[in-house]
Amino acid sequence: MVPVEKRDLGMVFQSFALWPHMTVRQHVEFPLKSPRHRHMTEEERKEAADRAIGCTGLKPYENRLPGQLSGGQRQRVALARAIVGQPSILLMDEPLSALDAELKLEMRREIRNIHKLTGATVLYVTHDQSEALAMADRIIIMKDGAIEQVGTPREIYMDPQTVFAATFVSRCNLLKGVWSNDCFKVDHENLLLSNPMIAAEFRAKGLYPVRPEQINILPEGKGLPAIIAGKQYNGREIHYSVQYRDEIFTVYSSFQTEYNPGDQVSLTLSA
C-alpha cells in the first residue's frame, strides 16, 4: 500500500485538524515544505501560498493562530492547506458539519468556487442530502458500506434506483400495489399508474415512489381519502404529514389553500 504521504492528495477534516501552534500562513506553507514539493523554488512556494490564502480570503488573518479565528475562518484555513499543493484529488470528510446553517451555505459556494479554480477532483463525504444535491457533479449513495446508486444529482432525485435512494434523497412516499408490465395498480383503490421509468427494485417489491411535491391536496373529490396529521410551516411551502390508511405520507404544498390537522382531504398525483 502506498503510504499516505506519497499520495498526491489534499484533505479537509471534519474537525479541521488545525495545529494550534501555527499561524494561518504557516499552515498553508506546511505542505509546500514537505518532500512531496521539494522540486519547487522558494518563489514558487511563496506564490502558491499567496494564491491559496488569496482565494480563500484569508489575507487579513494570515498571522493569526487558529485560536483567534472563527469557525468559518478555520474552515477556510483547512481548505487553503488542502488546496495549496494543487493535489490531483481533494478529500473532504463532512467538512461543513461543524458549522452553523448560515455559514454552511456560504462555504458551499466557496468550495464550488475553489473547485472551479483548481480543477482538482473533489471527493466529498456528507450526509446532508441537500448539500450533496447542490454541490455534486456526481453522487454516490452508500448504505452499510455498499453502493446503492451512482448518478448526477438530477438522476438521483428524479429517478432513484433503490428504495433507500428514493426515501433518503428525495423523501419519496411509497404506494403499495401490484405491478403488471409498466402499469401499477394501487391496493384498495381503483387507480392505475403507468410509468416505464420506475426501477426494478420497486417493481419487485410492489412499490411506487411518489415525491412529496408530486402529491396534491384537495379539499374533497376523487383521489385517495386521507386525514391531515401534522403541519410544518416552512416559508415558501408547507410540509404536511398526511395519514392515508395506516401510513403517513409527506406532502410539500404551496399556500393556495391551508389545511389544519384533522381535516379530511383527498390526494391526487401529478407527474
Partner: protein
Amino acid sequence: MEINRKARSFLIRGTVYLLAVLVFLAPLLRLLAMGFRSETGYGPGNFAELLAEERTREAIVNTVVIALTSTALAAAAGSGLAFLVAYTNVKRKGLLEFLVLLPFIIPSYIITLSWSSFLSTKGSFNRFLTALGLPAADIYTMGGIILVLGICNIPIVYVNVVHMLRKIPRDMEWAARACGYTQKQAMVKINLVSALPAVAAGSVLAFLSAIDNFSVPAFLGISSGIPVLSTYIYEKAIGFGPNAFPLAAALSLILSLIAVGGTLMEGVFVRRGAFTDSIREDYSVRIRLTGGKRLAAEWGTIGILLVLNIIPMISMVLNAFLKSYGLKLRAENLTLENFAFLFHNRGVAAAVRNSLLLAVVTSLACIVLGTAIAYAKVRKNSRSAHLLERCAALTYAIPGIVLALAMIFHWTEPVPGFRPGVYGTISILVIAYITRYLVLQIKGSTTALLTVDPACEEAAAASGRGIGALWGRILLPLLTGPILSGAFMIFVPAFTELTLSSMLASAGTKTIGLTIFNYQQGGDYNLAAAMSVMITAMIIAGYCLINRKKLLFQYKEEKGHEPTYSAGNKKLRQNPSAQGN
C-alpha cells in the same frame, strides 16, 4: 435577622483572613525579616557574609548544577517513557506504568539507600566492574546525587507529558501526513511541538522538586562534603552559632530565589497557543511497532526500569539481612538480627507511632479543612477561600527546609507576647505538615466536587431536606472515594516525611524518616536498610490494599475507553509533584 447574618458572615470572613495571614503568610514574612537581621540591626549584611564564604558559593553552584542536570535526565526519560506508553502498541503498559510511578510512593531517601547499597564499594556490582578492569562506581558524588534525583523525578515529568500526548488529536497527525510528511516527521513537527508546553511544565516541577529535595543530598552529599543549599541550611540551622538562624534564613531566601527563577523559565520554553482542556484523551495506538521491535521496546524498557527501580531495592533488602555492612552474600552471613533489633527497639516503635499519628492527624485535618475550603470555593465562589488556597499553595511551593525554618521562627511566638510552647512537641510537626500539605487536599476535593452537579444539591433542597441530609445522604456518599484517594497523597508523604521533621522533631518526637536518616548518618547501614524494607513493605501493602480491585482486573485496551490500569494510577497523578522528602 438580616443584621445578624451580616455580622456572622463578616465574622467568618474575618477569621478566615486572619487564619490565612497568621498560618500561611506570617511564617514566610518572619523568615524574610530574619534573613535581613544581624546583630547591628536590619541590612544585607548576612548575604555579604555568606557570599564571601567559599562554601556558600559552592553550595549555590552545586544546587543549580544538580537541579538542572537531574531535571534534564528526568525530562528526557519521563518524556520518552510517556511517548512509549501513550502512542505505541507495547503490551504490559500496566506494569510499565507501575514501575515508572513507583518513585512517587517510595520516599526518596529509601531510593537513595537502595542505590547506595547497590553501588557500595564492596557490593556485587562494583566487584563485577573491578573484575572487568573498570573503575568502580561511586554513588557518593555529584553524579550519584544527579542520578538518584533524576530517577526520583521521572514520574513528575511522565504524568505531565503522557496526558498531553494522549490529548493531541490524531486528526492533526493525519493532516500533516496528508500534506506529504512521513509519520516520523509528523511526530516531530506536530506532536512533539504540541507536547512541548507539558514537557516544560513537568520539567519546572521536577526542577523545583530537585531544589526542594533534602534527603538525597543529605544521604549522599553530607558525608562526602558536597554541599547543596538545602543541606547547607540544615547544617547552619542546627549549628547553633550566635548568628545561626539569621544566616540560615538568608540562605533560605537565596534558595527561594532560585526556585522562583525556575518557575520563570517555564515561560521561555512554552510557545504561544495552547490546547483547550476539554479535549478528551485518546488511548488508541498511534505507532504500531512490528513484532520484533515491539518486543525489544517493551522488554528493553521494562529491563531498564527494573535496573533503575527494582534491582537496587533487592540489593537493599539483601543488605537488611546481612550481619554487617559489606559482607558477602553467604548463608552464614545472613541474619534476622537487624529486624529483631528494630522490633525490640523503643525508639523505632516510637518513631513508627509518631509517624502514623502525624499522618493520620494531618490527613484528617486536611480532609475536613480542605473539603470545607474547596466547597466554599467551588459552590459559594468565596473570595476568602480562593485567597486561602493561594496562601496554602505558596507554603507548598517553597522548599521544605525553608518552611521548616519559618515554622520555628513563627510558632515560638506567633503573636507578640503569646508563646504557645509548641516548639519541641509533636504539635509543631502537625502544624507544619498541615501548612505544607493542605493545598493538596483543597485541590483534590475541588476536583471531586466538580464532578458533582450542583443540581444534585438543589434537588436535595427542593425535596425539603436540610444541610445534614445534603451532606450525609448526597455529598459524602458521592465524594468519599475521590476525597480519600486525594488524602492518600497526603498520608504517604506525611508518613515518610523527612525534611520538615529533620528540623522540627526533638528527641521524643522522631519520625520514621528521621530515624532512618540517623541510622544512615551514624553508619548503621544495615539497620537503615532493614527499616527501609519495613516501610517500603508497609507502603506497597497499603497501595495494593487500596487498589486491590484495580490490580485484580486485567486491563483491556479498548479504543476510546480509559483502560483500568491508568484509572488505578490516577490518584498518583492528581498532584504531579513529589515534594516533602
